[in-house]
């Protein structure tokens, strides 16, 4: 497995070279969204309306951070479980999204979309919210403030550590890793 430093927005070339198991340090702008925000984004796409940010080359982080302490950009900010976004992610990927950051398994439709439209699913370490927050330098709510922790935020990140779970070649680190260490009686 390889290590890369990448800056958003990500291109087809960027994501195509990644393999499940690779470690990537992401820098640049990423956006936060959970289920409620995803639903709204997909509704906008279906109505042909403009999204609150440019999907092309974008990376979306599935996170609902704790409130920031005074003077800090964000509170603890680890990934939430990704399957809740499975019904929305393929549509966003079709419209240009290149990366997702979360934790936990994705369904086949998401994996197929990653392959077909060239996108990757990154895993961040769940429950490492204090540590991950250190790589988030700026945070600004850009849409749906009424959703509270689920609002869409624009984050400026530096060397945000993630691992490639699903790559553009159809590989799945969860399946590969487990197959390697499973002990069958």
């Amino acid at each position: 497995m390889a290590e890369y430093h990448m800056t958003t927005p990500l291109s087809d070339e960027d994501v195509s070279k990644l393999q499940a198991g690779d470690i990537v340090y992401l820098s640049g702008t990423i956006y936060t969204a959970r289920d409620a925000a995803h639903k709204r984004l997909v509704d906008l796409i279906e109505k042909g309306e403009q999204l609150p940010f440019d999907l092309k080359g974008s990376v979306i982080y599935f996170v609902g951070p704790t409130p920031p302490k005074p003077g800090e950009p964000i509170g603890s900010a680890g990934p939430t479980t990704s399957y809740r976004m499975d019904s929305y992610s393929p549509i966003l990927i079709e419209h240009g999204q290149k990366g997702m950051i979360g934790k936990g398994k994705r369904n086949q439709a998401v994996k197929d979309a990653c392959k077909k439209y060239k996108a990757v699913y990154f895993g961040a370490t769940g429950g490492a919210g204090a540590l991950i927050a250190k790589s988030i330098k700026k945070a600004e709510v850009i849409a749906y403030p009424e959703l509270g922790p689920e609002a869409i935020r624009r984050l400026e990140v530096e060397n945000f550590p993630v691992t490639v779970i699903n790559d553009t070649h159809g590989n799945d680190l969860y399946e590969m890793g487990r197959a390697k260490y499973e002990v069958k009686d």
């Binding site: 409130p67 509170g75 603890s76 540590l131 487990r178 499973e182």
Partner: protein, 283 residues
Amino acid sequence: MREIAYDDLVKSVKAMVMHTASHLPEDALKAIEEAYRNEKSEVAKSVLKQILDNAHLAAEEDRPLCQDTGLAVFFVKVGEDVKVTGGSIRDAINQATEEAYKEGFLRASTCDCFDRHNLKDEVGYNLPAIIHFDLVPGDRIEIEYAAKGGGSENVSRATVLAPAQGKEGIKNFVKQVISDAGPNPCPPIIVGIGIGGTFEVAAKSSKHALFREAGTPNPDPELDAFEKEIKEELNKLGIGAMGMGGTQTVLAVHIEKNPCHIASLPVSVNVQCHSSRHSHITL
């Protein structure tokens, strides 16, 4: 009748709730350190290292360990010879929870089941707390607390087996639950198993089992052996830290057993993520 002032109760519970959000207890830390030492996969080892670094950073800087600061879950044993003056125990715990979550910059995570709107403004900030009361002899109030995240709760399951399925059936059910859960509950996990009672007793026991210190033996030798057997089986699944493959999936298995109906064998599995934030006080 011994008396405890309402305000004192609020103060003690609030301090416990705030502290627990940022300080991983010793038992969980030790269990994760042990998993780190034993893990064979380099990828999983680096994940465990991040988890330990996060725990140290959170404690040093008093930051929430995880952004999912959980629903506040309490098991409260109230002595029959103690009385809280100036308000109810339930109100005191709810007030303490709300104040701790607000002042500690923790996340309000309670919402309506259907339209999913956050209840912080109408019910209270991260309210209601989940409180299980028990009446016991004595003049003390014993409060066990855990901040329970959603990811590990989502993979928890309960069933009622046929008595003939016995211990083998229980083991298979637990294995299926943890196998299906895979990376989702943030392994390495602690597995709470409630056996027997009625349907809801099994579920409640599986939750309470998670409050035991990880690494302590079950006082019942038969259950202790069963816990070890199940742990070994589960670690064969190869899920590993954050599901990336590895030998250390389960930090501990805790079982609580109750007498049950002659026709039934209720079993419940409650999963706890590695961020096992729990604490207790006796007043």
